[in-house]
């Protein structure tokens, strides 16, 4: 591997892994909460909320990145306030790339988790109730473990997709080597340069391999957990 790939590729790979990891870590609890709200809660505007959550699936990624820039850029509505009061800057940083990735992969994650929550037998929750479990206890001891296959599938799929997020990242976090130049951005950059063909090919192979490995890992993991749950 080291022989085949040079520093530029490995840097991009490391950065992609870091961005995807952060993005999943950040969005997972929110995705569980959102899935729960969309499945179990009844509130006005639920359909609109549902549509809003799924928006990144249908919007051009560049539009999402631009919206993030308007909102969280150093002079953005929220970004300006964060910058002046806490010194937090998201645009053009690795954290920003992770955030853009999280927003883009969020619907994927919510869909997988929601599907698993819909499959949780409410009868088991009722049984837990008669056994003395209060609401939060019930969620943590019964609902959450039974959702685990969906949560894992959602997390791994979002991770794999996050490795390759391009449009939103380049718009919101730009293409800074070592900071926000992830695999797809490095690939794009290589393709733009006259002598970059070989590098571009290596980066493309790396991307294919990673994507395939991610999807396979997700499938195996889910099978294993399902077996543990006896299904």
């Amino acid at each position: 591997m080291m022989g085949l790939f040079g520093n530029a590729e490995l840097d991009a790979l490391r950065l992609s892994l870091a961005v995807a990891t952060r993005s999943v870590a950040f969005s997972l609890p929110l995705a569980v909460l959102t899935a729960w709200l969309l499945t179990r809660a009844r509130f006005p505007g639920r359909t609109l909320f549902d549509a809003f959550v799924h928006l990144p699936l249908v919007l051009p990624p560049v539009a999402v990145g631009y919206a993030l820039l308007l909102l969280l850029g150093t002079h953005g509505l929220l970004g300006g306030w964060l910058h002046t009061h806490f010194g937090i800057q998201l645009a053009f940083t690795t954290a920003g790339a992770a955030l853009a990735t999280a927003v883009m992969t969020f619907p994927l994650m919510v869909r997988a988790i929601r599907l698993s929550l819909e499959n949780v037998d409410r009868g088991l929750e009722a049984a837990a109730r008669t056994l003395g479990a209060r609401p939060l206890d019930r969620f943590l001891s019964i609902t959450l473990p039974l959702m685990l296959p969906g949560i894992l599938a959602g997390a791994v799929t979002a991770f794999a997709a996050g490795l390759g997020e391009f449009g939103a990242v380049i718009t919101f976090a730009a293409n800074i080597p070592g900071v926000t130049r992830t695999l797809p951005l490095a690939l794009y950059t290589a393709m733009q340069s006259p002598e970059g063909d070989a590098l571009a090919l290596r980066l493309a192979i790396l991307s294919f391999t990673l994507g395939l490995a991610g999807l396979l890992a997700a499938e195996l993991l889910v099978r294993r957990v399902r077996r543990l749950l006896g299904r």
Binding site: G123, A127, L131, G132, R231
Partner: protein
């Protein structure tokens, strides 16, 4: 004492139940499917809010819509054994059993883990997962799980309905053991009369959302309302008695029932056992004079108290007071006219000892130690 007075509308269906039943004891909710049995126990458990009414258990108000009381299910101390067991698939048998126990730390414990494992024969199953259990084993684990939350009442919603006959026989003895050793009050939902006979002390009869009658099983067995629900061949007086003599040579035992004696075919029930027998109405012969030269082992002299035409089963049902206990005999209209039977007449009720085979059940193997009673 369990006091129920509940109303619930669900679309076209209206349930209105009002009855009291003594506790401890096994209260059978008996009726056809769709009569409202499950709706009723869901409301007792607190899983389903009633439109109006109240639930009181041993003086504690659990539900009272007028006073706005609705104790949530998790605080009711009511164990629930569901028809489909509902074991948690992600936990082992031990995990399932301990689930309720862990959450009952602040409650008085009257049954310990080891005891439940032993009573229900769960020792070899502990490490298994629910999907590795048979249907009968699953129900036993569900039973143990419900017991370990130290309930003051156990609800059982047709726990044997999803099992085949062999598996039922695998679970029923355990239910009898629980009744006899732990004296946990139980509400047992069933549409199988045999289960009611084997387990219940009192019977609540439900039909199309209404309570047709409630009372001790023996008393209810004579009520005409029961006949509208029960298959005609299952109609018959239920008598509780004590084994007073066992004759192994002839294969019979003598039961003392009220002030009378009854010879029954009874294998394996030792002296002093409390036994319940059902004398099927169609098995009983009536005679207006003493007769000789018959193989029949019981000739009980009594008085006809009531004659009623039975639309559902056909013929005439004759209620005979045989010196305390009452028996029911089904005869044809022709036989009634030939014997010119009328209330007040003296008759002999003839009961073959072997007719009780398969219709006799042990009751209360041993009185439960008083310290075990749930408070």
């Amino acid at each position: 004492m369990l006091r129920i007075c509940l109303k619930k509308r669900r679309g076209e269906f209206t349930l209105a139940a009002d009855f009291c039943a003594p506790t401890p004891g096994v209260i059978a909710l008996f009726g056809r499917s769709g009569s409202g049995k499950s709706t009723l126990i869901d409301m007792i458990a607190g899983l389903l809010p009633p439109d109006e009414g109240e639930v009181q258990l041993a003086g504690t108000v659990l539900t009272d819509t007028r006073r706005g009381i609705a104790v949530p299910p998790e605080q009711r101390r009511i164990g629930y054994v569901f028809q489909d067991a509902r074991l948690f698939p992600h936990l082992s048998v031990v995990g399932n059993l301990r689930y309720g126990e862990k959450r009952a730390r602040d409650r008085p414990h009257y049954v310990r883990f080891e005891e439940v494992v032993q009573l229900l024969g769960l020792g070899t199953l502990l490490a298994r997962r629910p999907h590795e259990l048979s249907g009968g084993e699953r129900q036993r684990v569900a039973l143990g799980r419900a017991l370990l939350c130290q309930p003051q009442l156990l609800l059982l919603d047709e726990p044997l309905a999803s099992l085949d006959v062999a598996r039922r026989e695998e679970v029923l003895p355990y239910l009898e053991t629980l009744r006899d050793w732990l004296s946990v009050p139980m509400v047992y939902v069933s549409h199988q009369f045999e289960e009611v006979l084997r387990l219940a002390t009192s019977l609540v009869l439900l039909e199309r959302g209404a309570v047709l009658g409630a009372g001790p099983v023996g008393e209810m067995s004579l009520r005409p309302e029961l006949r509208s629900v029960l298959a005609p061949e299952l109609v018959g007086a239920v008598l509780d008695g004590l084994v007073t003599a066992v004759d192994a040579a002839s294969g019979t035992a003598e039961l003392s029932v009220g002030s009378g004696k009854l010879q029954v075919s009874l294998l394996g029930a030792p002296l002093g056992t409390r036994v319940r027998v059902q004398l099927l109405a169609r098995d009983i012969i009536l005679a207006t004079q003493p007769i000789q030269g018959l193989s029949v082992r019981n000739a009980l002299l009594g008085t006809v108290t009531e004659l009623s035409a039975d639309e559902c089963g056909g013929g005439v049902l004759v209620k005979v007071d045989v010196g305390g206990p009452l028996v029911l005999a089904r005869i044809t209209e022709g036989a009634r006219q030939a014997l010119r039977l009328a209330p007040g007449d003296a008759v002999w009720a003839l009961v073959k000892a072997v007719s009780t085979r398969g219709h006799a059940f042990r009751l209360f193997r041993s009185p439960a130690p008083p310290s075990r009673s749930p408070s």
